[in-house]
């Protein structure tokens, strides 16, 4: 079996030492991420994209080994497209989450993808995290990646029931900023994807706290 052959093989691949955040607000969900990709102590991409398309109404943020988050979300996206063709309906968010957790569980943690999945369907707005071993959490605010402690402290302080869209988005941005400044695995800019009843809105590099903290060459 493939997993037996993989046991004990260290994964020293391109990791997204990351801060990713999901926030539920009134009628929708905001997903925010930083844009730094690292290999060990070296930054390999200063402005990478950690948002992954699952369906028009479902998006995903990925932390962990870049290849794994990419492959898993791509596979699940295609799986959901087939489901959509079969049923002729807007896919439910839970279908995406179930597909992800089944895939990750099958690989017993060897596929290092830590995902935050959010979306809106006929039953409302949903937000879940999926861990590399296949467990899931469904909560009103979530964070994963190496910057999760910094981000979580901001979310714990700022989240309340009934946040408006813009309040939810700016809370998510602030949480990612805490990760950018306080976690060395996270950095550069903040990307946002907002999903509500109206549709999906993407804001690439909505703020650039890491880049802007760099001073001018004064000397």
């Amino acid at each position: 079996m493939a997993t037996e052959a993989m046991a004990g093989v260290p994964s020293k691949f391109r990791k997204t030492g990351t801060t990713i955040v999901g926030v539920l607000f009134e009628g929708g969900v905001a997903l925010c991420s930083d844009t730094r990709a690292t290999a060990g102590n070296i930054v390999v991409d200063k402005n990478c994209l950690k948002q992954h398309y699952i369906a028009d109404n479902v998006w995903c943020l990925g932390a962990g080994t870049a290849a794994d988050t990419e492959a898993v979300t791509m596979q699940i996206s295609h799986e959901l497209r087939l489901l959509q063709f079969e049923t002729g309906r807007v896919v439910p968010v839970t279908a995406a989450i179930t597909a992800m957790k089944r895939h990750l569980w099958k690989y017993q943690g060897h596929v290092s993808a830590a995902l935050i999945c959010g979306g809106v369907d006929s039953t409302g707005a949903h937000l879940s995290s999926v861990w590399p071993h296949g467990s899931t959490d469904s909560l009103p605010f979530l964070t994963m990646g190496s910057g999760c402690l910094a981000a979580l402290s901001v979310l714990e302080r700022g989240w309340r029931r009934g946040l408006t869209k813009e309040e939810g988005v700016s809370l998510g941005i602030e949480a990612v900023k805490a990760g950018i400044f306080n976690d060395m695995g996270s950095g550069s800019n903040v990307d946002v994807v907002i999903i509500d009843g109206e549709g999906t809105e993407r804001r690439r590099n909505t703020v650039k706290p890491g880049t802007e903290s760099r001073g001018a060459d004064v000397l």
Binding site: V43, S146, F181, D183, M184, D217
Partner: protein, 209 residues
């Protein structure tokens, strides 16, 4: 859990020398793993107006090493009734490091100084156990592998550059480490030493992410 006496607190030091100046610079971030412990810890230590040491590696060992060197320097200056010169200090640093051959100071040092006898400027680079190299420019620490190729391209096989040009090269090289190496950042300290003059101390903001 077994006792592990070493930590790597990250950061980078760079020095460039010319005929009548020597620059030494270091960032001020102190980190442990992915955590930033402090954003304003200098890596430069001044021993007298002619001797400055830049230290990357483990901060606790930098403090220990600096203390030991300070004591030995004072001892020397009392006995010789004269200020310590860079050449003597360079040798002192080498022997101090080698004394700990089998339990080394986890420090990677650069020494910058002005030789008052002939008004020349010098840089010495060290490994953790006291192997010395006299060099026209040097880098040490987490960003060493990013900075040195830039300095090679800009300074090798070139006539001595002016202090202003050297400072431009130094900041550009440091920028590379700042942008691409995660433990280097916050503030850059640049000290300029010239024979018979006070050390000029400047700072430049770096990335804080």
């Amino acid at each position: 859990m077994s006792f592990s006496p070493y930590t790597d607190n990250g950061g980078t030091c760079v020095a460039i020398a010319g005929p009548d100046y020597v620059l030494i610079a270091g960032d001020t971030r102190m980190s442990d793993g992915y955590n930033i412990l402090h954003r304003d810890i200098p890596k430069l230590s001044q021993f007298n107006e002619n001797i400055v040491m830049g230290t990357a590696g483990m901060h606790a060992d930098m403090i220990g090493l600096r203390k030991e060197l300070g004591i030995r320097q004072q001892e020397y200056e009392y006995q010789a009734r004269t200020k310590m010169g860079v050449a003597a200090f360079a040798q002192l640093l080498a022997t101090t490091l080698y004394n700990r051959r089998f339990f080394p100071f986890y420090t990677f040092n650069i020494l910058a100084g002005v030789d008052t006898k002939d008004n020349t400027c010098a840089i010495y680079t060290y490994d953790a156990v006291g192997c010395v190299l006299k060099a026209p420019y040097a880098a040490s620490g987490a960003g060493e592998s990013l900075v040195l190729p830039v300095l090679d391209a800009e300074l090798k096989a070139r006539d001595p550059v002016t202090a202003e040009e050297a400072k431009r090269v130094l900041t550009a090289a440091f920028r590379a480490a700042d942008e691409r190496e995660i433990s280097t950042g916050d503030t850059l300290m640049i000290w300029t030493m010239r024979p018979g003059q006070e050390i000029v101390k400047e700072t430049m903001p770096l990335r804080r992410d």
